[in-house]
């Protein structure tokens, strides 16, 4: 038979008390009859999630820890909104503001802390709030509703979260911080600088080293006056300068109180019937204001109350994460600079990543991570354990994934991880879950794992780890799909990057590199041109072309030659020219002393040996005669070669020249994964050599045969017949649709024939010849992208665009040389 339960009275219904009860009921559900007094008129909720509530990212309901049912289920008598005002230790009772007296056998004080109000004039004005409970959040939300200026005093964790929330709600927000850098207790100046930049980017003003002198206003706050004389307009002032333990009740009851209620390692006060826990206590001289230590205290206390013998609470090391969406920040321990400390730093400025681990005697004593906090808990774990990290030192900063094996062997590294190690940070998937999914469901590919667990399905940074898990789990059974990463800057393939650009709406190169975790600060000469193309193709008219990510030829619209001069090729539509055009070309060649003039394989004229600084003038003169850029330098449409066709040729079946001209005019200017060459032959004799082109049309009596995927370079390949159409109009539509499909599907630098071989001719044929709606959609997308590009780049540059590209920064002539020469004597 169970003994009569003891009466446990809990004062305060915050996170500490809630956790104690959770832990207690798990251990000894019937040992106590619990009465719980909470000053707030509501159930227990997750106070650290108030920031997302303020920012409108979470509702109050979603942060409730214990709802009414929970209290009923555990037979807890919850007295919401009733504040305990006195403890009678002799009688073992508490008295409340409602006049009720409640007897206890065991009393738990969990009164938490109070926000500090800085003692300046005006601090009591309406419109000045703190940031502690839901009432404060509601007051801020009401103020935000009215709009105007908010001033947040305090640039610590709470202040910044409040500021981010208010700014998100549309208030004009300023943070006033006394110290020179933000969150100076948790961050070093480098991380604080990155943080300040990120916060300012949200339109929040930050004033550091700013001392608040007074808050002014008659019936409502109007402004905040600073020591330096500035007055900041304010419709709302949030004081978030810190907290102090709320220990008045215990003090009046005669318990020992220093900064907080003094407790031993088992959360006992000097009175054996009274315990205290949470932010209101002082343990071994320390008061805590973060949630992790409260939980550790709660565990010890609950075990003690349950009658278990456990080791006492020994204090906590602290770690912090800032809950501002989009700001990734972790800090733990001590990172003040001391003579005996040693540090390892990793920076990636373009990604806004900063990592610093502080060591003392080969043990981690502090860690600050900004921008990439995936390894925060690992460092924190090593710090708490006081582990000797001497052996890991060289790779420590790269994080947990690089430990336990050679740096270059991801399989061994991943195999060495514990099951609860987080692999995918985006979706919170740990190693155990992935391995289980692989074995339980017989998964064999990366895509399987992505579909089943979501791991590696978001940013893709963990792709290598997931693949390594596949290898480790399946051994020889895993055959990679021949995945080839784009370049050394990423583990994602071309196709994966393109898919993510669309999915995640990434519209700039920094966005791609940041969101997809590029390993280099600004990419490399291989991935940047590819990304530039992918973005251009995905967001026509919206993405701003990045000239610095283009190969020189595409930047200056001419072809660089072995001596650093350039060649210039004007368009000759379908290979047609006129006496006037030829005269203009001859004049340009004369005037600029162009050494070589040659007919190209694509039926046009190449002017070779043009000096870079002459390019704008050469173009201007060619433009004047109606000649435009032939894009002979471009990953784009080059030429449309034609034969004379039915207009002259006795064998011609259709007007191949006319179709070639129309195609060239329609397709020119478009950027493609690699160069695209077309040809139109007027009859199957095929004088225009259409069957070795990327896209070739062979005219026949009944219409037009469309061929694709030919090549006549390093690799020679005859085209495949894609299909037959009856009219010229259809021919143009089908060719444009092929262009667009190629633009959307091929990897950068992948020629049409390689793409067709990879995608499969049947797939391409189905998309172009059979899916009429799909083809029309492709055509529309092609037309949209053409609107953005069909301008003559030569005319733009001759008119002065990017003129700097063509002139030296400085020319130091012999006259000027006199000066340095003198000095050199």
């Amino acid at each position: 038979m169970a003994s009569t339960p003891q009466r446990l009275v809990v004062v305060g219904n915050g996170m500490a008390a809630g956790r104690v009860l959770d832990e207690l009921f798990a251990r000894a559900p019937d040992r106590y009859a619990v009465t719980l007094f909470g000053a707030e008129p509501r159930v227990n909720y997750d106070r650290i999630m108030l920031s997302p509530v303020l920012a409108g990212e979470k509702s109050f309901e979603s942060i409730i820890i214990h709802d009414d049912d929970w209290y009923a289920q555990h037979r807890v008598s919850l007295r919401k909104g009733e504040t305990v005002v006195a403890i009678d230790r002799a009688a073992k009772t508490v008295r409340t503001d409602a006049g009720a007296v409640e007897p206890y056998d065991v009393l738990l004080i969990a009164t938490g802390s109070k926000p500090i109000l800085i003692p300046v004039p005006g601090a009591q004005l309406p419109g000045v709030v703190t940031f502690r409970d839901l009432d404060d959040v509601n007051a801020m939300l009401a103020a935000a509703e009215r709009g105007g200026h908010a001033v947040v005093i305090g640039g610590g964790l709470l202040g910044l979260e409040a500021a981010a929330g208010l700014a998100a709600k549309g208030m004009d927000t300023t943070v006033v911080h006394l110290m020179p850098t933000l969150m100076e207790r948790q961050l070093d100046p480098n991380a604080a600088y990155l943080l300040q930049k990120a916060i300012e980017k949200r339109g929040i003003d930050i004033l550091t080293g700013a001392n608040t002198l007074a808050i002014t206003g008659d019936t409502w706050v109007e402004s905040v006056r600073l020591e330096d004389g500035r007055a900041l307009p304010a419709d709302l002032v949030v004081m978030a300068v810190g907290i102090r333990p709320h220990a008045a009740l215990a003090k009046e009851a005669g318990l020992e109180v220093k900064r907080g209620i003094v407790v031993d390692d088992f959360m006992r006060t000097g009175d054996p019937s009274i315990f205290a826990v949470g932010e209101c206590v002082e343990h071994r001289g320390t008061c805590y204001g973060l949630v992790a230590p409260l939980y550790e205290m709660a565990r010890t206390l609950a075990a003690t109350l349950a009658g278990e013998t456990v080791p006492g609470y020994a204090g906590s090391a602290l770690s912090t994460k800032l809950k501002v969406t989009g700001v990734d920040l972790f800090s733990a321990g001590d990172f003040s600079e001391r003579d005996d400390s040693d540090e390892i730093v990793l920076r990636d400025p373009a990604r806004g990543v900063y990592k610093r681990v502080v060591l003392r005697d080969n043990r981690i004593v502090g860690a600050v991570l900004y921008g990439d906090t995936a390894d925060g808990s690992w460092y924190f774990d090593l710090l708490k354990k006081g582990a000797d990290v001497g052996a890991l030192r060289d790779t420590l900063i790269f994080g947990q994934a690089y430990q336990g094996g050679g740096v270059l062997d991801p399989t061994a590294a991943v195999a060495a991880l514990p099951d609860d190690a987080e692999i995918c940070g985006c979706n919170g998937v740990c190693k155990g879950a992935i391995v289980k999914a692989i074995t339980a469901n017989g998964l064999t590919s990366l895509d399987d794992v992505r579909a089943r667990t979501k791991a590696s399905a978001s940013c893709g940074q963990c792709t290598v780890k997931v693949e390594a898990l596949l290898v480790a789990t399946l051994g020889e059974g895993y055959v990679g799909a021949g995945r080839k990463p784009m370049c050394k800057c990423t583990d994602l393939t071309h196709a994966e990057v393109r898919a993510r650009i669309l999915d995640k709406q990434l519209k700039s190169m920094p966005a791609v590199m940041q969101e997809l975790g590029w390993k280099t600060s600004c990419g490399c000469a291989s991935c940047r041109p590819a990304l530039n193309y992918y973005l251009l193709c995905a967001w026509p008219g919206e993405y701003r072309d990045d000239a610095q990510s283009r190969f020189i030829n595409e930047r200056v619209h001419a072809n660089i030659q072995k001596d650093g001069t350039f060649s210039v090729v004007p368009r000759m539509w379908g290979g047609l020219t006129t006496p006037n055009e030829l005269r203009a070309i001859a004049d340009v060649a004369d005037r600029f002393k162009i050494p070589t003039v040659k007919v190209t394989g694509g039926q046009r004229i190449d002017l070779l040996g043009v000096r870079k600084e002459d390019l704008p003038a050469v173009w201007a003169q060619l433009n004047a005669a109606g000649l435009v850029s032939g894009h002979a330098y471009a990953k784009g449409l080059r030429t449309v070669k034609t034969c004379v066709g039915s207009e002259w040729c006795r064998f011609g079946t259709q007007d191949s020249t006319g179709l070639g001209v129309k195609l060239e005019r329609f397709l020119c200017g478009s950027w493609t994964p690699a160069k695209v060459k077309l040809a139109v032959s007027g009859c199957p004799r095929n004088c225009a050599e259409a069957t070795v082109k990327d896209i070739g049309i062979v005219c026949v009596e009944s219409g037009y045969d469309i061929h694709i995927a030919g090549a006549a370079g390093l690799h020679v390949r005859a085209t495949d017949l894609l299909g037959h159409v009856a009219t010229e109009e259809e021919a143009i539509e089908h060719v444009a649709a092929v262009m667009q499909l190629y633009r959307e599907q091929a990897a950068y630098l992948e020629r049409v024939w390689k793409w067709v071989e990879r995608a499969g001719l049947e797939t391409v044929r189905a998309a172009i010849m059979d899916d009429h709606e799909g083809r029309k959609a492709l055509l529309r997308r092609f037309e949209i992208s053409q609107r953005a590009v069909q301008k003559d780049p030569w005319a733009e540059r001759a008119a002065g665009r990017e003129l700097r590209e063509f002139t030296p920064l400085a020319v130091l002539s012999p006259a000027r040389k006199a000066i340095p020469a003198e000095v050199a004597e």
């Binding site: 920064l809 020319v811 130091l812």
Partner: protein, 113 residues
């Protein structure tokens, strides 16, 4: 004769006329010098000739503290002018500095043989 080299810092222009991750050239009677600007606004100066076949490095794609030569894609380290990877060769480096948004080239070196 003073054995110690005397520096002569010559103002060749403002930083902002070079695009980030780009380059411009400075022509001197003896040689053409490429001035590179990285994404993080560092400047480097190398002779505008790739150690491979003399390609104009100023026309290459600048990435990190490296530039890829436009002719054959040799990747040259901007800090010391050395070719990276398997390639061997070195573009001559010149002292350059950035002060108050302007670029200074040490002409005592740049104009010397």
């Amino acid at each position: 004769m003073n054995m110690e080299r005397q520096e002569f810092w010559f103002d060749v222009g403002p930083l902002d006329v070079i695009p980030p991750r780009g380059a411009r050239t400075v022509r001197t009677p003896r040689r053409e010098i490429a001035i590179f600007r990285t994404a993080s606004d560092e400047v480097f100066a190398l002779e505008n000739r790739c150690p491979h076949k003399g390609g104009p490095l100023s026309e290459g794609i600048v990435h990190g503290r490296k530039v890829a030569c436009p002719l054959h894609n040799w990747v040259i380290n901007l800090e010391d002018g050395e070719a990276t990877g398997e390639d061997k060769g070195c573009a001559r480096r010149f002292p350059v500095k950035l002060e108050n948004g302007r670029i200074y080239l040490d002409m005592s070196v740049a104009a010397a043989p």
